[in-house]
């Protein structure tokens, strides 16, 4: 479980004080996948570095499974796994030796057996004796993920795990992440891939130096767009939109082409009344559905609103 309270990181640069992370507070439950979304340079990697005790926060505290950063650094490092933005593997060493090194550094019991298990799991067994320098980007990424999970950490920080991978390997990685979740591990996933975040994450946080929004994708969608209903008609008259808008439970109404978009609180109860009203007005309804908004739309709107505020 990850608890973050007012985490802030300032960097002194030649041009002045740079605020990389500003007053970040959030909580990630045990066994959850948390998607940390944000544009490049938003401070995601800095946050991960603070949580893995690689950087000290300027202000604020955080704890991983009850261990505080800055105080219980050894305990935290032993319990978290980190996939860095760049794999950072040793090119002249074999895949097996790369993993064995980290098995020993993490104090894994019977590291050879554990390394072999992960090499099989990541489909790298046949190439275990080859120098990593000869590996493709996907193979290196799989090896780096194996390295992060080798010591069975409670919490995994994965920075762009599927970035630049072909669909086959990306799927293998996503399946592996879900398998880790099924084992009860907490996963903190930094990604730009919104489709992946939508598929994998229980909760997401949208971040640009500060936390702009954090919730489940479904709740964020509701908060941003409400429950927008789409009524497709054979044709629309402007008067109908006005009449429907005057219904007490309709908060917004607009038309686009042959479609009428209505914002309501409880579509299950209120849609039949709208349908009745439309029929009375002489409208011919082709179908009624709920508008779906992608995570990309949510993300872009939140980021744009934050930029506009700034």
């Amino acid at each position: 479980m990850i608890e973050i309270q007012n985490l802030t990181k300032h960097f002194s640069t030649r041009v002045g004080n740079l605020v990389a992370v500003d007053n970040l507070s959030l909580s990630v439950g045990a066994g959850q996948i948390f998607g940390f979304l944000g544009p490049n340079g938003a401070g995601k990697t800095t946050t991960v570095r603070m949580l893995t005790c690689l950087l000290r926060p300027t202000v604020g505290t955080a704890s991983i499974n009850g261990f505080s950063i800055g105080r219980d650094e050894q305990e935290i490092r032993a319990r978290v796994g980190l996939l860095t933005e760049t794999p950072g593997l040793y090119d002249t060493m074999s895949a097996e030796k790369n993993l064995l090194l980290f098995g020993r550094l993490y104090g894994v019991k019977n590291p050879v057996r554990q390394v072999h298990r992960f090499l099989h799991m990541m489909e790298l067994w046949e190439r275990r004796h080859d120098a990593v320098g000869a590996f493709s980007k996907g193979m290196k990424q799989k090896l780096a993920i194996a390295r992060a999970a080798l010591h069975n950490p409670d919490v995994l920080f994965l920075d762009e795990p599927t970035s630049g991978l072909d669909p086959d390997i990306a799927k293998l990685v996503r399946d592996f992440i879900l398998e880790l979740k099924s084992e009860g591990r907490t996963i903190f996933l930094c990604t730009h891939n919104l489709d992946e975040a939508e598929r994998l994450c229980d909760t997401i946080g949208i971040f640009k130096h500060r936390l702009l929004a954090s919730d489940t994708p479904k709740n964020l969608r509701r908060k941003m767009f409400g429950r927008e209903q789409v009524f497709r008609l054979v044709h629309i008259e402007a008067e109908w939109v006005q009449r429907i808008y005057h219904l007490p439970f309709v908060s917004q109404a607009r038309a686009a082409g042959n479609q009428m978009y209505l914002q309501v609180d409880n579509p299950e109860e209120q849609n039949p009344a709208i349908v009745r009203q439309l029929v009375e007005l002489g409208a011919e309804i082709q179908y009624v559905t709920e508008a779906s908004h992608s995570l990309e739309e949510i993300y872009l709107r939140i980021i744009q609103e934050a930029e506009a505020t700034n």
């Binding site: 570095r49 980190l82 040793y90």
Partner: protein, 262 residues
């Protein structure tokens, strides 16, 4: 300090460094060449002193302390072996940290339970052990051959066949090399550009070549050269090593080393 983690760091450094056979040549050739050169010099001196001894027995010359001459030379020659591994070890220590920075492999390592002390100890020891053992092996051969020629004494450490003398040479070499390797590590941990770092660290290590002969010169001049003097130098080096090790930990900024490019 966890010995298993220190050994893991050392093993990694050796695997990365010694996969190229030319590195072995770089480690073994200088001590072998030095031993060969000094043996040639000793061989010549051995014959000259032999001839001088004959002149002494024939009373053609009255007094010449041949043993003192050879002991004095042995002091200097042994110090060449003491100073020899410093340059390679410094370069290794500096190169190890620079390579980690360049390959971005430092971050995953520092995210493990490896402490700063273990990391530095492992890296420096990995850099120090091969050159020191190569130099000591060459020194052992040199001593064996010179003893067979009857050159058995040195002023500083007494009989070269004694374990105390050999242990003192080994300790001096190890401590001096370690001191310089630690300096190389500190320089490299605070710089990023590989060529500049290698140059700075190696230039720094060159000072090591002057240190042992300078100590002996000073010892002779003040007439204190001897076993006690050697022990005092060992003590001083030990203290300097401890101070520099603590200093290297304080200067090793886990934070900035990851992203600050100097």
């Amino acid at each position: 300090m966890n010995a298993r983690r220190i050994y893991a760091v050392m093993d990694k450094e050796w695997t990365l460094t010694f996969h190229n056979w030319l590195v072995w040549v770089a480690i073994l050739l200088p001590p072998a060449a030095l031993a060969a050169l000094l043996l040639c010099v000793c061989h010549q001196i051995h014959f000259v002193l032999d001839y001088v001894s004959q002149l002494l027995t024939q009373n053609k010359i009255t007094q010449l302390k041949t043993d003192e001459w050879s002991a004095w030379l042995m002091d200097y020659f042994l110090m060449f072996f003491v100073a020899l591994p410093a340059a390679n070890a410094t370069r290794f220590a500096a190169g190890g940290i620079i390579a980690d920075k360049a390959s971005r492999s430092l971050e995953p390592q520092l995210a493990t339970p490896l402490t700063t002390g273990e990391f530095i100890f492992g890296k420096v020891l990995a850099a120090v052990v091969p050159p020191v053992f190569a130099a000591m092996a060459a020194c052992g051969i040199f001593l064996h051959v010179t003893r067979s020629w009857g050159i058995t004494q040195c002023h500083l450490l007494g009989n070269t066949g004694n374990w105390s003398c050999r242990a003192a040479i080994f300790t001096l070499t190890l401590l001096l090399t370690n001191l310089l390797a630690l300096s190389g590590f500190i320089i490299a941990s605070r710089k990023t550009e590989a060529r500049g770092t290698s140059l700075t660290a190696t230039s720094f290590a060159q000072f090591a070549r002057f240190f042992p002969p300078a100590c002996i010169y000073w010892g002779y001049k003040r007439q204190i050269a001897g076993a006690t003097w050697a022990l005092e130098i060992i003590g001083l080096l030990l203290l300097a090593n401890a101070v520099l090790f603590l200093f290297s930990q304080a200067l090793f900024q886990r934070e900035t080393i990851l992203f600050k490019w100097k």
